[in-house]
Subunit: 227 residues, 2 copies
């Protein structure tokens, strides 16, 4: 692996993180199929999962182009992402859908925030991966329909959504501590947007992660949940 | 669902069978990822699984085009295909690879044999799905490499391959009994190729399935196994 600077080490980390996040989501979605109530929804899950695999492939190819070993780049993120999945294992079809929507949403916000910092080719690629949203729209509408039918589900699912975010922020913090190059990349982004201070990378990363939850409320609303 | 004849009912059955076979393989491959020895082989499994999902989508779309309800068309094949998977659950990574190679191989032979009977558009579509082979080549070469390293594995894996085929033929027989239109379509194909007799559809189907094992020996050899 040839790296010119700690900045490019941060980009390799970023791509490795995103690649394993996609691969992990692929397997998680496939795994949740047992919860699907019909053959049709199983098929819809399979389609979502296949899209994650396609993203994984694009990110993996980009890592190879950059001269990195893709598996080596992904390795540091296997444990925190697997930990997030195992701490947030859905117990029902609705919990699985909420997890998909919330998880993809946070991931998307994160991609958007950091893509601006990478080299142009990486940025274009990450934006391309992001552009394919809308596929998950059936997820939000299915949750909304279920809540209209059984409004009493809303409280429990709202708590579930809160737990998903809490566990994600906790794993993200662990990653920021373990991967200084990545943290520096993220912190740089904060200072460029004008609110960086002298608090160091970790604090900057912390604030960035907190800001990820801004859009979370809108996503909850799209599903008919409250924050 | 509008059907002109029992022939078209057979075609709907055929497409439903193939579609669910692809969807089932998708989930099976994703499920076997826990057995994969490395992040790299996990990624390769995900790629194979995504290809099965793409085939599923093509077949499902074709069912809709023909005015059939795709889930209704798949429904009769859920139980026998799920039964095959649950009776042949791999206990190791190598067993999983052998299952992929043998299962895809038999399915491919079956597709080839029956595609000739469907309408031209369906035939073109099924042949397109088949054309994407070669992707599974890493499977055969991985098994070969493992056997070169540990030749004593060959006996057990050969028995495993035999069981895979035996269970497949048994489920196929059950399907032929339960789906007379499909059996008639398959039987017609045998008589067209000149060896149909007065034995009735079930016997003809039986012989057709037996002939599927002809190419099985070549596949075993490709993996370094004996039949």
């Amino acid at each position: 692996m040839t790296q010119g600077s700690s900045d490019s080490a941060g980009v390799i980390d970023l791509l490795g993180l995103l690649a394993y996040a996609e691969l992990g989501s692929f397997f998680r979605l496939a795994d949740d199929a047992g919860l699907a109530p019909s053959l049709r929804s199983k098929g819809q899950l399979a389609a979502l999962a296949a899209a994650e695999q396609a993203h994984y492939q694009v990110l993996r190819d980009r890592l190879e182009e950059l001269g990195a070993d893709p598996e080596e780049a992904m390795a540091p993120f296997v444990e925190p992402l697997d930990a997030w999945h195992s701490r947030t294992e859905p117990q029902s079809w609705l919990e699985s859908l909420v997890k998909t929507y919330v998880g993809d949403g946070i991931a998307g916000d994160f991609y958007r925030k950091v893509a601006a910092l990478a080299d142009e080719e990486t940025r274009t690629l990450v934006e391309g991966v992001l552009a394919e949203t809308g596929r998950a729209e059936f997820v939000a509408s299915t949750v909304r329909a279920a809540l209209e039918e059984t409004p009493t589900l809303a409280g429990r699912l709202s708590l579930w959504a809160r737990r998903l975010v809490g566990e994600a922020l906790s794993q993200a913090q662990a990653v920021a501590v373990a991967r200084p190059h990545l943290a520096a990349l993220l912190a740089a982004q904060r200072s460029e947007t004008g609110d960086g201070g002298g608090l160091g990378d970790l604090a900057a990363v912390s604030r960035m992660f907190a800001s990820l939850t801004d859009r979370h409320a809108a996503r909850l609303e799209a599903m008919g949940l409250s924050s």
